[in-house]
Amino acid sequence: MSTTAPLPTPAAALRTFVDDYAAAVRRELDDLPAETVDDLTDGLEADLLDALSDTPVGFFRPDDGPRPGADLTDTVVAPPAGGAAASGAPGAGAAPSSDVPFTPAVLVRRFGSPPAYAAELRSSAGLAPRVAAQGAATRQGIAAAWAETRAGWAQRWRELRAAPGWKPVFEFLEVLRPVWWVGRAWVLATALLWFQESPVGLAPSSGAGWLLLVAAVVCSVQWGRGVWRFEPRLRWVGRALAVAAVVLLLPTTATALAGSSSGSGGPVTVYHDANRSNGVWVDGREAENLYVYGPDGKLVDGARVYDDTGKPVRALDDAQGIEGGGLVVSNDDGTEQWLALPSLDRAGRQAWNAYPVERVPLAQDEWGGTQYDDDGAPVLQPGAAPTAPVAPFDEVSPLTSRAALPEAQALPGDGTTPSPAPSDGASSAPSSDASPTPKPTTPTPPPAK
């Protein structure tokens, strides 16, 4: 085969053009692994030079090509033995002439633009077109690494399955596959129900839950049997669901088992603190404070509340621990703490049943807990003063009258207002021995404790 003839001096410039062109082509391939680029473009410069030397000079005639700024005035055509360049150029004169400018544009005319050239190399080499712009190399690198990892695991999996010792195990598991179809449907349905209703059991507790479970089982089994399929562009949904089922298997099972053992939907076990005998529960929540409104509908400040036996009604229990003359209380989610301060009676005794109970915000430590000083006393927020928490209502509707006694139950001869103590109850009248004063209707306060 022919070899490249020694190039005359202007050939150095041609070499530069060719090198630049080849470099531009390689840049267009830089998203491919370096090895592939080498395979594709090794010897490219030699090929380009050879191709140019084979190109008839007439190809570079100025008539139909771009050429402004021609600084190279000599065409460098170094024909190999018997090269057709000089002789075969129609109308170009016998030798390369100075009217043929040689610029990088000539390479583009001859070979096309570097991107087009690179694209043709790619497609003919069976490689994918260039991925758009920046980060392509990184993405391809990650994709390649991921594909390699997957292939590696797949290979290991195949080897494991083929291993003689494991074969019966896999055959056994193969038979159980439909069990997993049902299992994954249960996992996903239970997880969905978990979002809806906090306690979930092994079986749904509602009709809608059962409907969901049955639908999930049908879909899962049909999908498993290959009867129903996802559309190709929705395959990821199937994969995501399969992964979700595996991930949720343990949490849902654990929750459902816990839920069913404590009886989902059944009675809820509530632990009572045996040491606590005070506290006011309203609608399932322990009240932190009480607000007393008078018959005029106005808030009564310092109202003292007693029960039917004359015991002070305490919303706050000192079993929670009195600290520094007050009681540390917190809001329902524990994000704020206060020191509750009782009113004092004339004798200087703490009256915890005087409402509303005032309180002072406490400083918090870095974990949101109560901050204590060296003596173990809670630290107040700087500049904080005792205030009553904001009342739920400024005012309530004033009272105008009492409810009339239902006619059917009107007791003949008894003109008194209804009282909580049954008039005929012999032993159950608590006031007789518990309270020294007759009835709460009297304005005199019961003795403080």
Binding site: A5, D39, D42, A46, A118
Partner: protein
Amino acid sequence: MDTTQLLKGVLDAAVLAVVADADGYGYDVVRRLRSAGLDDVADASVYGTLRRLYAGGALTSYVVPSDEGPHRKYYGINAQGRAMLDVQRKEWGSFAHTVTSLLDPSEGAAR
């Protein structure tokens, strides 16, 4: 007829045949294809085809340094390439025969 489309289908076989004849470097293969009459063949598609055949194990390759110019990468055929060429030769023969008899029944019958 768009011969570049036709060329795509037979380029593998044509390149294999050229290299089977004698080892060659990229542009050398292009030149031999052109002198054989495939004038429209594009340089880059030949180089890409050579690389693909090489990556597929049908070709061997070696680099020949040059004192003056850049080095050249030569390709040669191996046993797998020859087997591939044989298969493609047969396939082309039968395909060409089919299409020829389809387009020109008299000639097809004569063959």
